[in-house]
């Protein structure tokens, strides 16, 4: 059905638009103005109308871990959070290292998903870091990128081969940077709080050594690399310098790395346990600076649902990660836009335009002819985060009870309403 989104402040950074105007939708696409009769009118007065958000780093857990999340619940969470496209990581069971699993995810998403789902294939078979996956087959089946996320590609030689080989298929390579011998059993950031809590620390170098490695490999091979979830001041600086000299490196960070520090672990709060770990005030400031100056291209959630029984245990034994789809936009508004770090159009760039560009997917714009993937949100509305209201099957969020700004009113995917604020 035809739809017109009226009276909203349209922010479409891809077309340099930032003004009140109407958006016309027909046949699942954005179209030029048409007559109002026979069209469903969505009043967006007081709201921002933007290209649907794109999360380039989520874990939907299906197949294999349906007790944590399914494609149905994960994409429902995405829609609630304003995301119209998500790219899901391959650490499923079986691992998404072959065309059959990619096809399974796409079929399932087609039938049960609320938003567009783009599978990411594994770099190596079984994510073991030993042999390359069939990268050509993965791409042909619909994988939009490759990554061994959840695990690093530990061997520099294997990473170099992955970059070179993947260049033959023009598929982005996403690197989860973590040197295991430096992690050495660590469960939180190494610093005052790890000492205070008696928990084993993970030094910044565990991330930064591999970020440096991958920057050098990208520079040497000329193949682009995307660094997942950077969390430290040092990683930001390494990437900033690399970009300056023309290395084709892009990176993402997550809302928790600009809104929380390792102090959140006090009390052995397992919802503050993630990988990479929450860092210090200084790192948070540096990550914000890197978001501001463009070193950080994208904001991704690393949405990592876990069952309560995997979190309600000893800190050392607790699973890494938090759910993020239903809080990301509010955290971006509250901690970045409202604090003056970046403007609203810049936030939309990092939550939609840039990740779409990095993955090469049709999203991130409200141009005529583009898929009608739109988010409508009230940036000023206050909300109190309540995990029991999450659409995600898992509730492992450190933000329960937080007062945040920004509320999603509508999420429209391919012209259909995927979420409407009740």
């Amino acid at each position: 059905m035809k739809k017109i989104i009226k009276n909203g402040l349209v922010i479409d950074p891809a077309n340099n638009i930032n003004e009140i105007r109407d958006i016309f939708i027909d046949g699942g696409r954005i179209v030029s103005a048409f007559d109002e009769k026979d069209a469903e009118i969505i009043d967006a007065k007081g709201c921002i109308v933007a290209p649907g958000l794109v999360d380039m780093h989520v874990h939907l857990r299906e197949p294999g871990f349906e007790y944590k999340e399914t494609i149905a619940t994960g994409t429902a969470a995405a829609a609630k959070g304003g995301f119209t496209s998500v790219a899901c990581m391959p650490n499923t069971n079986p691992v998404t290292d072959n065309a059959a699993v990619v096809t399974f995810i796409k079929d399932k998403a087609e039938k049960e998903g609320s938003v567009n789902v783009y599978p990411i294939g594994a770099i190596t078979k079984g994510q073991k870091g030993e042999e390359l996956s069939e990268i050509g087959e993965l791409k042909a089946a619909g994988a939009v990128a490759i990554s061994d996320d959840g695990r690093p590609v530990s061997s520099a030689g294997m990473m170099r081969k992955a970059l070179i080989y993947s260049s033959g298929f023009d598929i982005p390579v996403i690197s989860h940077c973590e040197v295991m011998s430096l992690v050495d059993g660590g469960v939180m950031n190494e610093g005052y709080y790890s000492t205070y809590l008696g928990l084993r620390g993970i030094p910044d170098a565990a991330e930064e050594v591999m970020v440096s490695r991958d920057v050098i490999l990208s520079e040497e091979t000329g193949v682009p690399v995307h660094i997942a979830h950077i969390s430290t001041k040092g990683s930001a600086e390494i990437i900033r310098q690399a970009k300056k000299r023309g290395v084709k490196v892009t990176c993402e960070t997550c809302p928790h790395y600009f809104s929380l520090t390792d102090a959140a672990v006090v009390g052995y709060n397992t919802n503050a346990k993630m990988n990479p770990p929450l860092r210090t005030d200084e790192d948070v400031a540096a990550i914000k600076e890197a978001i501001k100056d463009g070193t950080v291209d994208a904001i991704a959630t690393d949405h990592a649902p876990h069952h309560i029984d995997e979190k309600n245990v000893e800190f050392d034994y607790a699973a890494n990660g938090i759910v993020g789809l239903e809080t990301a936009l509010s955290l971006g508004i509250s901690c970045l836009v409202n604090e003056g770090v970046i403007t609203m159009p810049e936030l939309i760039e990092k939550l939609s335009v840039n990740p779409a560009k990095i993955l090469g997917i049709p999203a991130g714009t409200l141009s005529e002819g583009a898929p009608a993937d739109v988010v409508i949100f009230d940036a000023n509305a206050k909300r109190t985060v309540n995990v029991s209201e999450f659409a995600s099957k898992s509730k492992n969020s450190p933000y329960d009870g937080y007062e945040l700004s920004g509320e999603v009113k509508y999420t429209i995917v391919g012209g259909n309403i995927a979420h409407k604020k009740a």
């Binding site: 050495d184 190494e190 610093g191 005052y192 790890s194 000492t195 205070y196 809590l197 008696g198 928990l199 084993r200 620390g201 009390g267 052995y268 029984d309 309600n312 245990v313 000893e314 800190f315 050392d316 034994y317």
Partner: protein, 309 residues
């Protein structure tokens, strides 16, 4: 004083008044220990369970005897041979003990924070008998009790703590307790075994053992786990003993009446020479006795807490 604290998870947030109250109670308990007949009826009808996820015969025995001397019913659960080994999770185990009517759970666990987790889900008082690398509050209390016995007061004492500070829960509890009571703590350890930002816990970090020991009132050596050598944290036992162990020569730098302490069990020839362990100023055996007194005091305080509710 009116005791309101439900659990003893560590000394981080325990006040000077509370520590003093525990030490005063322990003095009374030590008197009981010196009697011919050591059994008193203070905790008749109360139950104490020791829940140990890590082997430690000494600490478990110390608590068990403390409970028995006070006429409490005591029982032990160890990680092997129970539902724990069958994969039952901590909270299920804790709840089971709780609904059986247990008054105090004494817990030893290899994970930091495990007693904190348990305490939030049980009505029983939880006493931390050592959690991971975090705290071992009853050890620090018995150390402080021993220092007070010998030195009269903790205020202004210079205490040198030597060795593997990184992995030591004994060290952390002593840092907190001694700071609260006005002592000054100096540490020395191989740089690989010094936790990051440790000076922010209120201790002075010294580069050498000699520097830390100088004019000390108390010299405490931590136990060195020999497997740390294999993980590359120090090169050899002999080099460790040479630079970070305590011997007669180094001891000369301390005050002439300095106490020698060790949480036990001692690795003779590693962190401490036999001559030092058996030195006339070594109070290592008295620490063990005082451990029972401290644990009697704690069981008494915590098992009776619920009478007042």
């Amino acid at each position: 004083m009116n005791w309101t604290r439900k659990d003893l998870l560590g000394l981080k947030d325990v006040s000077a008044e509370e520590i003093q109250y525990i030490l005063d109670n322990a003095a009374t308990m030590k008197h009981i220990l010196s009697q011919n007949v050591k059994k008193v009826p203070h905790l008749r009808g109360k139950s104490v369970i020791t829940l140990f996820y890590e082997n430690s015969t000494r600490t478990r025995m110390s608590f068990e005897l403390a409970g028995k001397y006070l006429s409490a019913d005591t029982a032990n659960i160890t990680a092997s041979g129970s539902s724990v080994a069958k994969g039952e999770n901590l909270l299920d185990t804790g709840r089971t003990l709780d609904v059986m009517g247990c008054d105090v759970i004494v817990m030893r666990h290899n994970c930091s924070g495990a007693p904190h987790l348990l305490s939030q889900h049980v009505n029983a008082s939880v006493i931390n008998a050592g959690d991971g690398m975090n705290e071992h509050p009853t050890q620090a209390l018995l150390d402080m009790f021993t220092m007070v016995e010998k030195k009269g007061s903790l205020k202004g004492l210079k205490v040198a703590i030597l060795g593997d500070v990184l992995h030591s829960r004994v060290a952390r509890s002593n840092f907190y307790g001694l700071n609260t009571m006005g002592a000054k703590v100096y540490v020395a350890s191989p740089a690989t075994l010094l936790p990051k930002n440790v000076e922010e816990l209120g201790v002075t970090v010294c580069k050498t053992v000699e520097e830390a020991i100088k004019d000390a009132d108390v010299v405490m050596n931590l136990r060195m786990q020999l497997e740390r050598q294999k993980s590359g944290l120090f090169p050899s036992v002999s080099e460790y003993a040479k630079y970070y162990g305590l011997n007669e020569d180094k001891l000369k730098l301390a005050k002439p009446d300095a106490l020698i302490m060790h949480p036990g069990p001692v690795n003779r020839g590693v962190e401490i020479t036999t001559g030092i362990a058996d030195h006339e100023r070594s109070v290592i055996d008295e620490q063990v006795t005082n451990g029972v007194a401290i644990r009697m005091a704690l069981l008494y305080i915590f098992a009776n807490r619920r009478n007042e509710e």
